[in-house]
Structures are given as C-alpha cells and as structure tokens.
C-alpha cells in the first residue's frame, strides 16, 4: 500500500532526520522526523515513514511534513504528525490530519497539597473520584444537555460551561484558545453527532484516556517551574480525554464529505483517510466549523471533569477547591487543526496547522500565552503511561522555527493492542503496579488495562529526551502517578 523503502532518509543530527523530497513519490516538501536512530528504525519497520511521505504530497503543505519523536502508525496522517497548509497556495484541511478524537487533550490541575499529606488516603480518594467521574462507553452519567445547551457548548465551549456553573472563570486563561475556538458553527454538526454527544459531557471515555493523581517527583528548571506554580512533592491532577462520541462522529461524517470533495477539487490522495478540501472551499469551511464545535465540546468536557474532581476533593478533604489551590495549570489538545501565524522565509503567514498526536509548544514571548507564563514559554503536558512518568515541558523558540511550535504528545504506542492483550495479564499488572510501584489502579476492564500497559508504550523518558535534545521543548518537571483511573 505504501512506497515502502522507496524514500531516502538523511541524518541531519542525531535527533533530526530528513526524508528527501522526491517528486516521483508525489512529495511537495521533504519530511522531517525528530527521532533517534532506534525509534526511527521502529517507525520504518511499521512503515510510518510512508505516512509521512503521503502527507508531504498534500496540496499547499508548507516547508515539511513533520513527525514528532513519539511518531507511530496512524490512519492517513501518522500519529505524531504535524503539517501546515497555506490557503493562498491551495492548502487543504483534512479530518485525517486531526483524527477521530477531535481535541483529545490533557488538563492539569495544580494544588497546594503535598504528596505525603495524602499518602494514606490515596486509595479512598481514587475510589471516590471513580464514582464521581463516569468512564467507559455505554454507561451514561454525563451531564444531560438540552439541544439548546448542547449547541451552546458547541459554539461557546468553556464559556458556556462556566455559564452553566461549572469550573472557575480563571480557568479560561489557561486553556488553549481560552476554551473556545472561533468559527465554531453547530449547524455543521450532524444530528447523529449531537445525539452521540448529548449525554457525554463530563465523561472520561475509555481507551487510552485516564485520570491520574500525581506527584511532582523532580524539577528540572526551577525558574519555569516557579512560573507554572510547581514545587517538588506537589500533588497534581491530570485528565486525559477528548470530544467523545460527538467528535468521533464529526470525523466520520466529514471523511465522507471530504472523499467527495477531493474528487471534486481534483485532489489526489494516497490513502482515503487523507481526503481533504481546500481551506477556502465550502467543504473545508464546514469541516473547520464542525471540528471547532467538537474541540469546544472536548475543552468543556475536560472542564466539567475538572469540576467534578474539585468537588470530590473538596468533600473528602473538607476544604474549598480555592483553599486547596486546585487551579488549572494548563489545558491543551493534541489532535487539532487551527489557524496560526508563523514566519516562513521571513514573512508572517496565516497557516492552518494540523497536529495529530502532537502538542503546540509556543516559545517565550507569545502573546497567546497567559501573562504569568509569557517569559517561561507555553506549558506542554506529556501524559506518560500508568506505570512510569508524565512530564511537564515548556515550548521553545527553536520549536517555533523548527516545527511550527510543536512537540510530542506522549509516549506513543510500541506494541499492538492484540499483542498486549495476548502477552499481558491485566489483573497481574494491576497487582504489580500496586505492590511494586505503590500506584493505585482502578479499571473496569482488565483487557483494557493490559492494552495500556507500560510495556506497550515507548519509553517516555527517551521520547522526551529526543524532544529536548532536538530543541523542541525544555524539561520542567517529572510527574509520578500515585493513583490512576483508567477510562
């Protein structure tokens, strides 16, 4: 299916590789892969490089088809893929460059609690949270929304959720796009998508989604950590979730629209999942409007999950969320297309950035960052896997120049789900994590737990190390899970 091994890869540095532009493969630009030799080899064997090549062949792509260090095999775009498209140059928008879980992302709440203060309570806390936060599919438990309220969430995102009494108004400043993307139009979201989403606000979902209570184990950059309000042994809460069934259906609906549009506009794609339409076409605008709705839903979803968490901790610890310092450190998505202005050959250009399994990582000085973080750079949240670590990084100037202000989004899968299921015993894993690592793990499905086992993922330390050595991010802090609720 792909042009396996027909491409040529050059080493630029130990952490940056170029897939040579080759017109015979249809490439318009080269591919740039931030990786080390070992992970690059893995990507090659999975034939993920073929997906980087396919993206490089899309119309209006600017500079390069990028892949972040956690690159792995996706559908259409690789997971870890970043591409910018220029509307002035026939650039397209593609649902395959965003993914099914539109605005899947992460929110971190900080606190003024020290890990030692709750170490005897962690099992009770996790258990209470697990009751308060609906997870898994087909279970309900979300905030039921009227048609009008759902449309309000789709067009207004976190603003609307705040209006409904969820969360703190201060949260907004610390969310990408302030919790509400422009140009979101509920008219472009199908009834089926709305029905799938109508009972799912404030639900975690399943798969790789999770909620963790973590402790800051190590601080690497005291200055930035201070700006982010971090300190050693501090308790943090990380929520990883997305736009639920609503976003999945928006993607499904528009892949069909885009396949017809691709034919209509004469866009040749090597994989049906890559279908797209020009950014300024009616189809392109409709998808953007619907995708922005799903992103607003996702941001509101994480916002409502945070609200439920705060409420649970308030009840258990007998103090207000404000007293406990449960404020949003940052909320960012890693599956999104958004308009951004970047310098290309010295000129400022408005481009549509696609990040699929990649995180925006703006460097210091960006006006889109809250004033408290402007000198430090944007917080980048890297959820790891349940047995090891997660990281907080900061965006850099280099990322702005090298990857349109983008970096990795997680560890990236290494072992297939079916192999994980066959080789890992979920119940044993749960026991091992509890007994050996002192991590409380709550999960409904032991098979699901096995699929998300630490050994099924790439080594997060290695992935983060590559992102740092390639200059795409700065290491700020390493976080260790105390308790995990697996979606």
């Amino acid at each position: 299916m792909y042009d396996r091994e027909k491409y040529t890869i050059h080493r630029i540095s130990d952490y940056k590789w170029e897939v040579q532009m080759d017109r015979t493969l249809g490439m318009e630009v080269p591919g740039i892969i931030f990786s080390d030799r070992k992970l690059l080899e893995h990507a090659r064997n999975e034939n993920t490089i073929g997906q980087v090549v396919n993206v490089a062949a899309l119309p209006g792509i600017v500079r390069a088809s990028y892949a972040m260090p956690d690159i792995h095999f996706g559908y259409g775009f690789p997971i870890g893929g970043v591409a910018a498209f220029d509307p002035e140059d026939g650039g397209i928008i593609s649902p395959g460059g965003v993914g099914f879980d539109i605005s899947c992302g992460v929110r971190v709440l900080r606190s003024n609690i020290e890990a030692d203060d709750i170490k005897d309570d962690i099992r009770d806390i996790m258990s209470l949270i697990s009751y308060a936060v609906p997870r898994g599919t087909g279970r309900g438990g979300g905030i039921r929304l009227s048609g009008k309220d759902l449309d309000g969430i789709l067009s207004g995102g976190v603003d609307r959720a705040l209006g409904m009494g969820y969360g703190f108004k201060e949260d907004k400043e610390f969310i990408e796009d302030k919790g509400s993307m422009d140009d979101a139009d509920p008219e472009y979201v199908s009834q089926t998508a709305k029905q799938r989403g109508s009972g799912q606000l404030g639900t975690l979902g399943s798969g790789n989604h999770f909620l963790e209570v973590q402790a800051v184990e190590e601080v690497y950059d005291a200055g930035i950590a201070d700006a982010f309000g971090l300190f050693r042994k501090q308790v943090l809460i990380m929520v990883h979730s997305g736009s639920r069934g609503l976003g999945h259906q928006v993607c499904s609906d528009y892949i069909k629209v885009m396949q017809r549009a691709s034919e209509r506009y004469g866009i040749e794609v090597k994989d049906r999942q890559l279908a797209g339409a020009p950014l300024d076409s009616p189809e392109g605008k409709r998808y953007y409007g619907a995708m922005a709705c799903a992103a607003n839903f996702a941001m509101a979803n994480r916002h409502c999950l945070a609200h439920r968490l705060r409420h649970t901790l308030e009840k258990y610890l007998g103090q207000s969320a404000e007293k406990l310092g449960l404020y949003t450190l940052y909320d960012i998505s890693h599956n999104i297309a958004r308009w951004e202005t970047h310098k290309v050959n010295g000129d400022s250009r408005k481009l549509c950035l696609h990040r699929k399994g990649a995180t925006r990582a703006y460097g210091p000085g960006s006006s889109s960052l809250p004033p408290q973080y402007r000198q430090a750079g944007q917080p980048v949240i890297i959820p790891g896997n349940m047995g090891t670590y997660s990281y907080l990084l900061a965006g850099t100037e280099t990322a702005m120049e090298e990857s349109f202000g983008s970096t990795c989004h997680g560890a990236g899968r290494m072992m297939s789900r079916s192999r994980a299921k066959k080789t890992i015993d979920g119940s044993q894993l749960q026991k091992d994590l509890e007994n050996n690592e002192n991590i409380v793990v709550i999960a409904d499905s032991m098979q699901g737990l096995a699929e998300e086992a630490p050994q099924a993922y790439k080594d997060i330390d290695r992935v983060v190390d590559i992102a740092v050595r390639a200059g795409l991010s700065k290491k700020v802090a390493r976080l260790r899970p105390l308790g995990v609720i697996k979606g």
Partner: protein, 155 residues
C-alpha cells in the same frame, strides 16, 4: 452456522494485528452474511458475545449516501456503534435481510438482536471510536467461494 465455516477451515471473523488500533477480518458466503459477520465481529471486540442475550430486537434500514459496498459497510458499522453509544445496546445476533445495489445507490435492511448494557453482566473490553477507511476492503475469494472483508477500527 459456525460449523459450516469450521468445516471450510475459515472463521466467520477474527481480530487482525494492527500497530496501534484494532483490525477485523470477516467472511460470508453471501454479501448479506459478510455484513452480518462484520457487525457481530465488531461486537465481539466490544464484549463477550456469550454474555449477550437476544432479548430486544431492532429493525434498521440504511439508504442514500453510500456509493460502494465499502461505503455502506462503514455506514452499517457506524449505525451499530450509534445504537451502542446512544441506546446502550449490545447485539449478539444481526440479520441482514436485504443488501441492494440500485441506480439510487446502496441500501440495507437488517434486524438486530441483543440487550441493553448491564455492567454486572457485560464486560466492555474495547471502546471503538469509529470504523476507518484504512485497509478497508471487500473482495470475493473465488477459490473458496466466499466473500472476505477487512476493516480497521480506531479505538
């Protein structure tokens, strides 16, 4: 029905290895049966089919949009997922009564048998976000006289 497949040395459906998601191969002696097995195969990834009793039946029709067997397969699987997610239904048996290709496009009529999710009884093993177009195929194995299909689900 399973026995006939076993005799022919093939399975009605089976999970396929995929680097990051979940794949399904499914077979049928007719296209209707192929679609049935795709539907049941998808639910076999979600839950233990043995635990689902065919208590509730639901009639379903698909018309319009699709312009190939692959397209209507995606629409069919999406519809089944919709009932799973919105109505909390699990289906252990699906019967495709009619699969028609006409000048107006492709259409399908089916009856689904199953029950509402009961967490005490049903373990939900996998959340499927959507069927994808990657490696999507439907073809006829002339030698074995069966239809065979492949779909990858985003999970």
């Amino acid at each position: 029905m399973e026995d006939k497949y076993k005799a022919a040395g093939v399975k009605r459906y089976e999970e396929l290895e995929h680097p990051s998601d979940v794949g399904l191969r499914f077979r049928g002696r007719s296209l209707e049966e192929l679609f049935q097995n795709a539907g049941e195969g998808m639910f076999s990834l979600i839950t233990d089919m043995e635990s689902v009793e065919p208590i509730i039946s639901l009639e379903l029709g698909l018309e319009g949009e699709s312009s190939s067997y692959e397209d209507i397969l995606i629409a069919w699987l999406e519809r089944l997922l919709y009932h799973f997610e919105v109505d909390f239904m699990l289906f252990s048996q699906v019967l495709v009564k009619e699969l028609i290709r006409s000048k107006n496009g492709y259409s399908l009529k089916a009856v689904l048998y199953g029950e509402r999710i009961d967490r005490k009884k049903h373990s939900i093993m996998e959340e499927i976000k959507a069927p994808t177009y990657q490696f999507l195929s439907i073809c006829r194995d002339k030698e074995r006289r069966i239809w065979e299909g492949t779909v990858i689900f985003d999970v």
